[in-house]
């Protein structure tokens, strides 16, 4: 450990370059050479890069832990790649550096990203085996890991933003991985555009932070966070609303908000985009169009938690904004409820998991929203394990379903499943463990993290640091009911979570397998390869539709047909399941205050010292913890119980009966609250009509007027100039001869010109004639109006190019310059020069700039020009234009 600290000093922690660089190299090699390298080499490269990155992260984690234990305070290990640029703002010089740092928060996060990332890479190596885009998939996946690491390891917001955009790009590429189908490409586009709305918020937040806190790096923002305790005028946007007189002056009434609230809301807009919160969550369910490992890695375990990470990172800013935090907490709770209610009725197993992810992200935002950053981050960790396990389990099931169903929709539909327990025991057990974990049954991971969030929501509120509140008493204070409302919403969400997860579990793994009769006329293309090795025969991805040419076989739809049986997945796919399930089971003990464990709390405490000062709790002694945990366990058990009763004992009849009784509600939930349709009508409709207007303007104004006018002018000139283009070489040559002659004449004619150097104050003037080839010069002056020009120095032309003379005040003369070239031709130039009567200063004043010199004694001394009268103090009443000298 000592050696490591010498090799990697805290201010030049190059181990970060290793962690970051390996996935980037992997992405490059797989992306550029992958097609030629073959699947084996691509697998080795991709898994090796991420695996080695994980080992390096582990090493960095332990180095950091050693140093943090030594210093008993927050340690930040930094590595500066290069300095990018410097922003000069009116308030500060803000350096933008490509700099990375490691502290307790992102060290933990990088372990999750590289660790879970590695497991999912391993899983994908089998899942994607038959895909023609195998190398492309791994290039994207490696690039994603790199971008995610940039996001979490960046030491300032711009670097984070680069990673933020990078993961957005990879997400887009992987959602639309099977871009041959329009729906997949559209889903990728939707994700990208919804994220773009959020990115706009993040950019605005960055600008505001530069202005109000004077920094963009973590330590600088934390130090300058107090600068956010000020008011910002947000209305009117300019000086006044244009045409305000038409509607009345009330529209110009200025509106102020706290800078901290503004920054926090903009940051949250970014987080809401990336982490799929209301109102921008709509992209995440559609993102399931991507391969299932992608859903597990990007759209469950890592990328979508970036928003929570950013909120933890910016905790010092967020606690300054109690009002914004209240909104964030309630948006989180509302998202959790909305998504959970949709998940109750979905039949596509990936859709259920997607809405579950949105719902769990809502919980995380409730956590960070009430200032419980550790709790929110804790849920990020546990969720990464159990949700990745659930997604991979779902992928395993879909993979197995492909044995009979070569259709994306049908192979993900839980109505076609059932009884899978018998075919895939490992998937079944790991899925069950993760379900218990997410449902919140102790002692598995989900219980601890969710319970901590609920407890914190009930007891804690954001109140801004004492010092800030003292100087800025106008800050918002949370109402007393807020905590209780959040707690109840959270419990309701937990009830639904437990129900829909067990509904999912039971309908996949229990009951009768319904896949026997599903696909009409499906014929095993490798009929000789029945049994264990049958999985090698079908495509590894769920996109592959079987050709339509089987449809002419006439089968009885209800009669079970021969065909390969569903089977357990190979070890590359089950190992990640087992590891993740184990983590989902035990990760909760990182932070289990009920039984006296608070490893994560202690580990992250130095990060959140500032944030801690901004929250208050009604239960500082944690006396209510057990009291509040009991309803949460009971409600989770109720959810599980109802699901078991509905689907295991009664085979789904009660659920169908309820749907029958309340068809409106059922349809509303099946239709996902019709949020997509709402956006279609409002936002997309508005943009479409705007586009239609611009289309019209382009066609009639741009093309019609602007383009035709310029074309007409060009045609007019063209019709005249066309006659010069005879196509005869002689005509062109004659034009050349004439042109050459004209240029020659111009060059050979003498042209007199001169530059005048005037010094009105001293009265000295100099004329310098412009030089020319073979020129000689002659100067003459006209001393009086209408007088004769008098030659200087005889009649002869000479080589000297300058002449100079002095004038008294008010005197004038006309100077003539004559030049003669080698052929004897002459030309002349004349200019009348007049010295002004006064130089515009009061008489007797002194030009101190030129007259102060250093005296012999080293002190400044006034040196007057020869013959200058002694200076007198100017009379203030005197006319400065009055009589000169």
């Amino acid at each position: 450990m000592q050696t490591l600290q010498v090799v990697f000093p805290p201010t030049d922690f190059t181990l970060l370059a290793v962690i970051l660089g390996l996935p980037l190299i992997g992405a490059f090699i797989n992306g550029v050479f992958g097609k030629r390298l073959g699947n084996q080499a691509v697998t080795l490269m991709a898994l090796g890069a991420v695996g080695a990155s994980f080992v390096a992260s582990l090493l960095a984690f332990f180095i950091l832990r050693g140093q943090q234990a030594e210093s008993q305070s927050a340690v930040r290990l930094t590595w500066t790649a290069w300095e990018w640029l410097t922003l000069n703002t009116p308030n500060a010089r803000v350096p933008l550096e490509i700099k990375f740092s490691l502290d307790a928060l992102n060290a933990t996060m990088s372990l999750v990203v590289t660790g879970v990332g590695f497991l999912i890479h391993l899983y994908s190596s089998k899942y994607m085996q038959e895909d023609p885009g195998y190398y492309r998939f791994f290039a994207y996946l490696n690039l994603f890991v790199f971008s995610m690491l940039v996001l979490i390891l960046g030491d300032n917001l711009p670097v984070l933003f680069i990673g933020w955009e990078g993961v957005g790009l990879c997400s887009y590429l992987l959602i639309g991985f099977w871009f041959h189908e329009d729906a997949n490409a559209a889903a990728g586009k939707k994700a990208f555009i919804a994220n773009r709305v959020g990115d706009f918020g993040l950019l605005c937040a960055m600008g505001l932070l530069v202005y109000y806190s004077g920094a963009l790096n973590w330590s600088g923002i934390e130090a300058g966070a107090a600068g956010l305790a000020t008011q910002v005028q947000i209305w009117p946007l300019g000086r006044e609303v244009p045409l305000a007189a038409l509607v009345g002056q009330w529209i110009n009434a200025p509106v102020y908000v706290d800078a901290s609230t503004l920054v926090a809301m903009f940051l949250f807009l970014g987080c809401a985009g990336k982490s799929a919160q209301l109102p921008l969550y709509v992209w995440l369910p559609d993102a399931m169009a991507g391969p299932t490992p992608v859903s597990a890695l990007i759209h469950a375990a890592t990328m979508v938690t970036a928003g929570v990470y950013l909120m933890c990172r910016m905790s010092g800013v967020f606690v300054m904004a109690p009002k914004a935090m209240l909104i964030i907490a309630f948006i989180g709770a509302a998202t959790a409820l909305l998504a959970a209610s949709i998940a109750l009725v979905q039949n596509d197993i990936k859709k259920v998991l997607a809405y579950s992810t949105v719902s769990q992200l809502g919980y995380m935002f409730v956590g960070v929203g009430v200032g419980a950053f550790t709790a929110g981050f804790f849920h990020v960790l546990t969720h990464a394990f159990f949700k990745a396990c659930l997604f991979l389990g779902a992928g395993s099931v879909i993979h197995a379903m492909h044995a009979r169903i070569h259709d994306t929709e049908a192979s993900q539909d839980m109505r076609n499943m059932g009884g899978m327990k018998a075919f895939m025991p490992i998937t079944h057990v790991t899925f069950l463990i993760s379900c218990i974990a997410i449902a919140g049954i102790p002692p598995l991971a989900g219980f601890w993290s969710k319970d901590e969030i609920l407890y914190m929501a009930y007891t804690q509120s954001v109140s801004a640091p004492e010092a800030v509140r003292a100087v800025y008493p106008g800050l918002y204070q949370w109402p007393a009911w807020a905590g209780k409302a959040l707690y109840v919403m959270g419990l309701l969400g937990a009830l639904m979570t437990a129900f829909y997860m067990f509904r999912l579990y039971i309908r996949i793994f229990h009951g009768e397998f319904k896949g026997w009769t599903i696909v009409k006329g499906w014929v095993d293309p490798h009929a000789h390869a029945h049994g264990d090795d049958a999985h090698a025969a079908h495509d590894g991805h769920d996109d592959h539709g079987h050709g339509g040419d089987h449809d002419h076989h006439a089968f009885d739809p209800d009669e079970p047909r021969e065909g390969p049986r569903p089977h357990e997945s190979p070890w590359q796919m089950t190992t990640p399941l087992v590891v993740l399930a184990a983590l989902a089971a035990v990760a909760g003990f990182l932070n289990a205050p009920l039984i006296g464990l608070h490893v994560l709390d202690d580990w992250l405490a130095p990060i959140f010292t500032l944030a801690k000062t901004g929250v208050t709790s009604v239960d500082p002694e944690h006396a209510m913890m057990l009291t509040l945990a009991i309803p949460s366990v009971l409600i989770a058990a109720t959810g599980v119980g109802v699901a078991v009763y509905f689907y295991y004992l009664k085979g789904g009849e009660p659920a169908a009966a309820i749907a029958e009784k309340a068809p409106g509600v059922h349809r509303f939930l099946m239709g996902k609250w019709y949020v997509d349709e709402l956006y279609e009508e409002t936002v997309i409709g508005a943009i479409d009509s705007l586009a239609e207007f611009f289309n019209w303007a382009d066609r009639w104004i741009i093309d019609g007027i602007v383009a035709r006018l310029t074309a007409g002018i060009a045609r007019l000139f063209g019709s005249v100039l066309r006659f010069t283009q005879t196509g005869r070489v002689q005509a062109y040559a004659a034009a050349m001869v004439v042109g050459t002659a004209l240029v020659g004449y111009y060059l050979l004619t003498p042209r007199a010109s001169a530059q005048l150097f005037e010094d009105d104050r001293a009265g000295s003037y100099r004329v310098e004639a412009a030089p020319g080839l073979g020129y000689s010069y002659r100067f003459s002056s006209q001393l009086t109006e209408d007088g004769e020009f008098q030659l200087e120095a005889g009649d002869a032309f000479h080589d000297r190019r300058t002449t100079s003379f002095n004038l008294e005040r008010g005197q004038s003369r006309t100077v003539r310059v004559e030049v003669k070239d080698a052929f004897g031709h002459t030309s002349k130039w004349e200019r009348r020069i007049e010295r002004p009567k006064t130089d515009g200063r009061p008489p007797g004043s002194v030009d101190f700039n030129t007259m102060i010199q250093q005296g012999a004694d080293g002190r400044p001394r006034l040196v007057l020009p020869p013959g200058h009268p002694e200076p007198t103090l100017p009379d203030p009443g005197a006319d400065p234009q009055g009589g000169a000298q």
Partner: protein, 105 residues
């Protein structure tokens, strides 16, 4: 300005004459081959002027040097020019420059 000056005058006058013959020939003849020869005449007139003027600057060979440059460039130019003439002849069975008007129509 002794003998040398008068000689230079003769050289320059001869060069100007040859240049004028070349220029006029280029302008009034339609045969591309003759036009190429006229271009050569003009270039050689320039060569003559360069070499003639160089005699004024004793010890400085820049004029001669440039004359050689002109000869080399003229050779290259002529090679390209003759190639164009041959290609043109194959196309139109003619070497009259006013027949080369495909771009006009």
């Amino acid at each position: 300005m002794s003998l040398l000056g008068n000689v230079l005058e003769h050289y320059v006058m001869l060069a100007g004459l040859i240049f004028a013959i070349g220029a006029v020939g280029f302008l009034i003849r339609r045969n591309v081959l003759v036009q190429l020869m006229c271009i050569e005449l003009m270039l050689n007139a320039v060569n003559l002027a360069l070499v003639g003027y160089n005699r004024v600057h004793v010890g400085d060979m820049t004029g001669h040097l440039f004359a050689f440059f002109v000869i080399a460039v003229a050779a290259a130019e002529l090679a390209v020019g003759l190639a164009i003439v041959i290609a043109f002849y194959r196309l139109k069975s003619s070497v009259q420059s006013d027949e080369a008007d495909a771009l006009r129509h």
